[in-house]
Symmetry: C2
Subunit: 455 residues, 2 copies
């Protein structure tokens, strides 16, 4: 839909800009959703985008600016007077402006910050200090907090004053004189209550909150589990310091999923979108893993050279090598993927280790029998298979698939208990390790069979 609007309205916008149609441009900025305005602005040059924005209030300019892609925001900042940029930063939501400032190089940031009004600047400095992946880095400080003695009627009156400035007015957090979080009242409860009821008698006391120093994914999972619109954030002393809102949580969840997907595919997660990332950046993120995997894979070369006697005697066995390696790698990738995702979703905890390993052992035996049987079936249908190779290939396949499920499920479990990202056990990484394991198994099995048959 965004794309339709873009195609429909972009020519109109250009016309209005050329004709200097002040009324039309103001209407464009104010009547559409800021995200829609942003979608259309990106079709213009940054200088033109500023000309359009000049027709909106500073508040509105900030709202639209927040919806622009980061790369385009940077292009706009390059061509803007710093005073103008500071005014927009003052009007932006606290969490969004901190994200923006973090993405700028520190020199530019330090040039703009002194121009920002003092209260906002202090808020920015406070939020900037939280570590990258913490709850503090995604929270906003625009919430409504009121004392317990406030009545419902007074609270509504306060909300009317505060609403234009607050990111959400749908929850009112109730705090004591030390700002310690005591309860929460939803706007829904407030509207239903008699005006003279005190918040103390209205509030839910079992408040679910997160600590400011926890991982932001914890906040995301908590909010998603309880279906909240926002989640209060407290410091170590239980004092309210911010809220995390549903829209930011959605971004956290999508971003986390993208990181998982990239890691599982053997790419260090990109910091920007694929199209916005430079080739050099992507080449670096890929090259690191390609090199690591290349080195891991060198193991196979040495093992194969060491076992070359087996292949001299059973010459056509080498033709089965890729089949065996890929089967081991595939079953390993599958296990690693299932376990990594289940860990990410919180479906598996450290206590489930033994159950997981037990399940994956059974799974490995089941799938190993399947592939062993497939190998026998293939040999019966193909006339060119050397029959003496069939037992070697079938039993190697079964063993390798079992090794795959065990190694593939153990790796993410071990990584997560070492507090590392289980996603490091990516499909390519597990496949490389399985290539080494498969080679050893194949050579060992072939050796045993050769010994047994006395060849």
């Amino acid at each position: 839909m965004a794309i339709d609007v873009q195609n429909l309205l972009a020519p109109d916008l250009r016309e209005m800009l050329e004709a200097g149609d002040t009324v039309g441009l103001r209407e464009f900025c104010e009547a559409l959703h800021p995200a829609t305005v942003a979608d259309i602005l990106v079709t213009l040059r940054p200088e033109q985008a500023w000309q359009v924005l000049a027709h909106a209030s500073p508040q509105r300019q900030a709202e639209i600016f927040q919806y622009l892609p980061e790369a385009y925001q940077h292009r706009m900042i390059e061509v803007a007077p710093r005073e103008r940029m500071a005014a927009i930063i003052e009007a932006m939501d606290p969490d969004d402006r901190v994200d923006l400032l973090k993405s700028l190089d520190s020199e530019l940031r330090e040039a703009i910050l002194p121009l920002v009004a003092r209260a906002e600047r202090e808020d920015i400095r406070r939020l900037l200090q939280y570590p990258e992946d913490s709850v503090g880095a995604v929270m906003t400080t625009d919430y409504v907090a009121l004392p317990e003695e406030t009545t419902a009627g007074e609270a509504l009156a306060r909300l009317r004053l505060l609403a234009p400035d607050r990111e959400t007015i749908y929850y009112i957090y109730v705090v004591d004189q030390d700002r310690r979080l005591r309860g929460v009242v939803s706007l829904r409860q407030l509207i239903l209550a008699r005006p003279q009821t005190r918040l103390r008698d209205l509030m839910t006391r079992d408040v679910i909150s997160v600590r400011v120093d926890e991982d932001k994914e914890v906040a995301a999972r908590t909010l998603a589990r309880y279906d909240f619109i926002a989640l209060p954030v407290v410091d170590a002393d239980g004092r309210l310091v911010g809220i995390v809102t549903h829209d930011d949580v959605m971004d956290v969840l999508v971003e986390a999923a993208t990181e998982d997907v990239h890691r599982l595919g053997g790419v260090e997660p990109l910091t920007e979108s694929y199209m916005d990332s430079s080739l050099v950046h992507i080449a670096w993120k890929r090259g690191v893993w390609l090199t690591i995997l290349f080195v891991a894979e060198l193991g196979t070369r040495h093992i194969l050279a060491w076992g070359s006697e087996v292949f001299r005697q059973l010459f056509l066995l080498y033709a089965f090598l890729p089949l065996i390696m890929s089967s081991g790698g595939n079953s390993g990738s599958q296990s690693a993927t299932l376990i990594t995702r289940a860990l990410a979703l919180g479906e598996i905890g450290p206590r489930d280790w033994w159950r997981v390993l037990w399940r994956e052992s059974l799974m490995g035996i089941l799938l190993g029998l399947l592939l062993g049987a497939l190998a026998v079936a293939e040999a019966l249908f193909e006339t060119d298979t050397a029959l003496e190779l069939v037992p070697v290939v079938a039993s190697t396949l079964a063993a390798v698939v079992l090794c795959g499920t065990l190694i593939g499920s153990l790796m993410p479990l071990v990584l997560s208990s070492l507090k590392l990202d289980p996603g490091i056990a990516s499909s390519p990484f597990v496949a490389s390790i399985m290539d080494v394991v498969s080679t050893v198994v194949l050579i060992t099995v072939a050796h045993l069979v050769l010994l047994a048959t006395g060849t």
Copy 2:
């Protein structure tokens, strides 16, 4: 946190149940968040869970029931009288109860449905008819819709009446006499407005909505893009038929990411969580792909048998085979992963085909040179490498990595333009195809080099 609460309160709950502590059990059901109650209930047997729930109002019972995992819901339904179940279904949210009924086998569903009150039953039948992945399948019918002439004061009074029953009262949808969607007013706007203002003069007319028959992921992306709490759903004639809320969208996004991750790891997406899925179910979802990949991989066996002459002459070349195959597979997996995720996030559209291929070609050349250089470096450090193999291995590696980026990026693009899931181009699948390609490239290069040197 859920886990802490579970460990802390579960023993208390069991004690209250044994002592028949009616007051304590009611307090337990009513004071905690329904999700927390659900987390603790699952530690009991289903019969005991029903005994606990009996102390709550039907509305509260339904709220708690909605937060139970599907497998546990089924166990509770098995042991419950059907009339009791029907009463809970009447009180559940329209979207949640339809999800539940869909998960039951049709015989049980048809046994319970006639016991449900008529209005709810009709609503259920209507929602049941929407296809699995459509917006209709995740929307709810509990929204607030009012005519344009309503004043802000009247609207607030109506909200007070409706609030207990409606899933969200934070948006009021404005409809004409044919229920066509004309505008939207947020509760925030309503509170700020003077009581005598009519909704007509208050409402945003540029309403962003989704069609009931669109894919649910479209609704999820739209809501996430615009940071809404809920999104109105209209039929083909623009009539309002439901809303999709932020919490359901979060579930859709997480579920979609899980499907993508599973597919990329070469597993058909599971329908339940890893721990709740039966071994047979998982074995089936994995076995399908293992078999497909096994058959694809048979190609390598035939090509290797066909090219065996090359390996007879350059005997130690076979030891490089896994290294070459895995490098091709890895670079292919990386490209497939990046492109699949970018397609899923809507970062890449059909129009970007050529730009993607151009970028991936450059990337392939860059990374190919890297791995070719690594192979040369390795040969210089290792004394046991047969030097005549170095040019064959290095140039094959470079060629294979380039093929990997091209095939890995083309596959998801082609699949998505055929309206298939780009995730079919999983890491293991791309790796299998690259094994075949790598074998052909290696044999061809070796052949050319042998010819050139006149061996």
